[in-house]
Symmetry: C3
Subunit: 374 residues, 3 copies
């Protein structure tokens, strides 16, 4: 279970009972036990001392063992956690989220005030992108460089897995981890980030794996909501549009489910997320009336309507736009609330570009936490 | 008008009358008023304080307002200017050119003498290239890194504007400006750099926009001529070859028109530039005899003959080469003069590679001026 | 001859006779005299003082002249050498190899212990790749950044040589050398690296030129063998697989031929390398029995079997795999020996990923030696 991604950093304190462990039992994904990774890392270190990477210290091995013998939920109340990888939204709970957001706020100050932070001076991050995503890549590379770190860029990592070379993802990871301190990976297959994390002895950040997850996006969405609305408990969120291909929205729903009294309104035919919310006891409602929903919500989360998915049927496309797009008329019924959309960015409530900037802070925070700890 | 690209940095001095404002009235381009940008930036800051970017200080807003209320030409005699963007050759006048060239000479010393300048330490430049141009990109990235700055590279920015994502240039700029301190943009559409500059709150450098302009190339051409010939007033320049697609030559002509007693010889069918020179009162002459022109000129500016534009007609291609290419025979009639060409680089008068190096110095100078001021 | 790649750094000592010069007389390659390069560099410096690049000091010119007047083999016993370029495996002899390996070991300590070495602070390396090779590029870029240097990346350098632009490799090199301190080049044509080195006034490293050479790969192979086995003289090496397209194996054979009492076993139809070894007096043997060879060897060097080369004949492909692949059964007959392969990396004797890491150290060493000297 995801709690194994965090291990203790301090040697005292009281162990928490696995009170919220059900949060991590995700009915939509069947995940191998994440303990495996650390067992593996421990075992590997025994088998071949030659393989020991500089970044895997004796301390890490002890941490792994600690995780191994502990129960599902293993962290110390009042103590800091060590983040090992960022693979999926489900791995985070409220405490971790709150701690990450606190660091993100510090990053905002660093980025704005002190030109040329040297916090990650001497560290190298590799962006291993099996499919292009310039926006996400730039955000991560900017985050690393704003902290004084350096970057190795790979935009055509598919080359590694070409038929001619026949290299497995695991082989690639084992090679690339020799060149860098952390890997940010974008892949076209669901589950690829998890496989990479199981192989690597250095931290892996999932920057999107196929239709799977995009956890840093979900983190920045929740961070943006908290920044704009001022709270997360008790918020009303409208999820609008064609969410079927929306790994981002799914990851967001996973995170929202960790807060109290959240109410979700769907203006969307998506079923997948509804089942998940039901399983988590989150209240939700369906509606075809965007205007009515918008008037009730604190947050309207709108996905892009992808024209090419409608093919020749431009009539259906225009109908979808009419139904799902937040325009001036919708804005008029809202009050002081953040709308996340691409079409109304003249309105101060449209958090779109502030959101992009928040993504930078979140990624700076994650890089700091993964490489330096709290 | 382009003068709005410069705003005052000092608070005293005497305001110049718009004596040379006609220089900026370019008959070939219909430009929206550049004041608009700063008005916009001012307004945006009012509407949403959240949108305020760290690089837009209160001072900038005051500058914007100052520009707004002033007349066309707004700088202070004997004072330094603040360069906001580099969009087109026409935005520069003699004083600015001379000041930029002075900084370029300082950059030459920095690049040669002191390994590892830290002048731009902590600054980030993004190269946002919607079409590949490895040579131009490398020149800018080298310039930034020679000054201790860092770079985010984008070679496939077209991805941003893909049909699926449907993102406008303005959206992209607003996102990317959150990640960087300055954007160097190459685009396939004329006018794209201007649109970017109107949107952005950080400096934009135009690294070529379709058939439009390539102002940094024009700057380095003029800088090279001055370095090689020792003067710009009174020079005789031969423009040779197929100039029809030559945005570079057009930008060069704009800059040459700012100097006195320049005489231009055309060994080319191009009409566009001739009209411009006439409107500026620059003397020009047509000739089919390259040899005779070469014997008279201080500078021979030769464009490449693009073979693929002749298709099957290799006979016409070879005829054009015979007519327009500076070879040993042409060189023999010239004296101690710089020739800008790719085919005679064994001759010390061929400034081609010195020109590439001058491009580095010019770009270092522009980055310094845009990010730090004079 | 390759000896011209090294020039004296000290002004005293005794000149060595060209005792091993036959080593450099390579029957497989007809090389132009490498002196030419330095003559050229000397001449150019005379012709045009403007061309003088900061990295070509007066000292270099004197060195060139020294090389020019000296005989084939020009270095001083007990003195250090200056490495100018890395073009082919044959340019290295035992002394140089041993010295490089010593520096590589220092690099290993730097990489592991001191985060953020500043040894190459202020230096710029350009990776000029005419065909993609993400693995090799990342290794070089990591090496440069681990030493505090900076990188300019080019993954689509083919653009330079596009028909439309018609730029020669020599033109490209002369432009790019203005932007950087060292060029790492991958090209699709055999001999391209040599042509680049003849043109450039800055160091060139060949990162693979078509079917030609891949000298840094050969260096890391030999370095890995020495690290794993503890010696190079007297080792028994099995070369296994389809070596026909193996520029890497060929480069390795060139280097092995420099050591005493090396015995090579071929489990491969390759003829090319056998002839070379015969000409160098290296003992070799053919065998179809991988198991028997494996039991005798210190090193088994296995190439990948490239499936696509067998087309429809999957039967032949599977036969080749059965014959040439080191599996568990083969491993069982070996003892404490390093095997270089992709399929058995769970076994500590599989040096594959340690080899990748050694590649980093070798490349760090070469960059240090080319830019700073010994």
């Amino acid at each position: 279970m995801p709690s194994s991604m965090f291990s203790m950093r301090a040697s005292h304190g009281t162990t928490l009972a696995p009170e919220q462990s059900t949060i991590f039992r995700d009915s939509m994904y069947n995940k191998p036990n994440f303990f495996y990774k650390h067992l593996l890392c421990f075992k590997r270190s025994c088998v071949s001392s030659n393989l020991a990477h500089s970044s895997v210290s004796q301390k890490d091995i002890i941490q792994c063992r600690a995780v191994e013998v502990a129960s599902n939920r293993t962290f110390l109340k009042g103590e800091k956690f060590q983040l090992h990888d960022v693979i999926e939204a489900q791995q985070f709970d409220r405490d971790i989220l709150s701690a990450i957001f606190e660091v993100a706020r510090e990053m905002e100050i660093i980025e704005k005030k002190s030109r040329g932070s040297q916090l990650l001076n001497g560290y190298l991050m590799a962006t291993l992108f099996y499919e292009p995503s310039t926006r996400t890549r730039l955000s991560f590379e900017s985050a690393m460089k704003r902290l004084g770190g350096e970057v190795l860029t790979t935009e055509n990592a598919r080359e590694f897995s070409s038929a001619a070379k026949g290299e497995t993802l695991e082989d690639t990871i084992r090679t690339v981890e020799g060149y860098t301190d952390i890997i940010v990976m974008r892949h076209f297959e669901s589950g690829a980030a998890r496989r990479a994390a199981m192989t690597a002895n250095i931290p892996i950040i999932n920057a999107g794996d196929g239709p799977g997850e995009h956890p840093t996006q979900a983190l920045l969405d929740v961070y943006t909501i908290e920044r704009e609305i001022g709270k997360l408990d008790g918020i009303k969120v409208g999820l609008v549009g064609d969410l079927a291909n929306g790994r981002t929205v799914r990851s967001l729903a996973y995170l929202l489910a960790k807060y109290n009294d959240v109410k979700v309104y769907f203006v969307s035919p998506e079923e997948d997320i509804k089942e998940y919310l039901t399983s988590k006891g989150v209240e939700w409602e369906e509606s075809a009336d965007l205007k009515e929903v918008a008037s009730k919500c604190d947050v309207v989360y709108q996905t892009r309507i992808q024209k090419e998915r409608f093919g020749e049927r431009t009539d259906l496309y225009e109908e979808a736009c009419g139904k799902y797009i937040v325009d001036r008329e919708i804005l008029d019924v809202m009050q002081k609330h953040a709308v996340i959309t691409v079409d109304v960015d003249g309105d101060p409530r449209a958090a779109y570009f502030r959101q992009a900037k928040n993504g930078l802070y979140i990624r700076m925070a994650l890089l700091k936490l993964l490489l330096l700890g709290w």
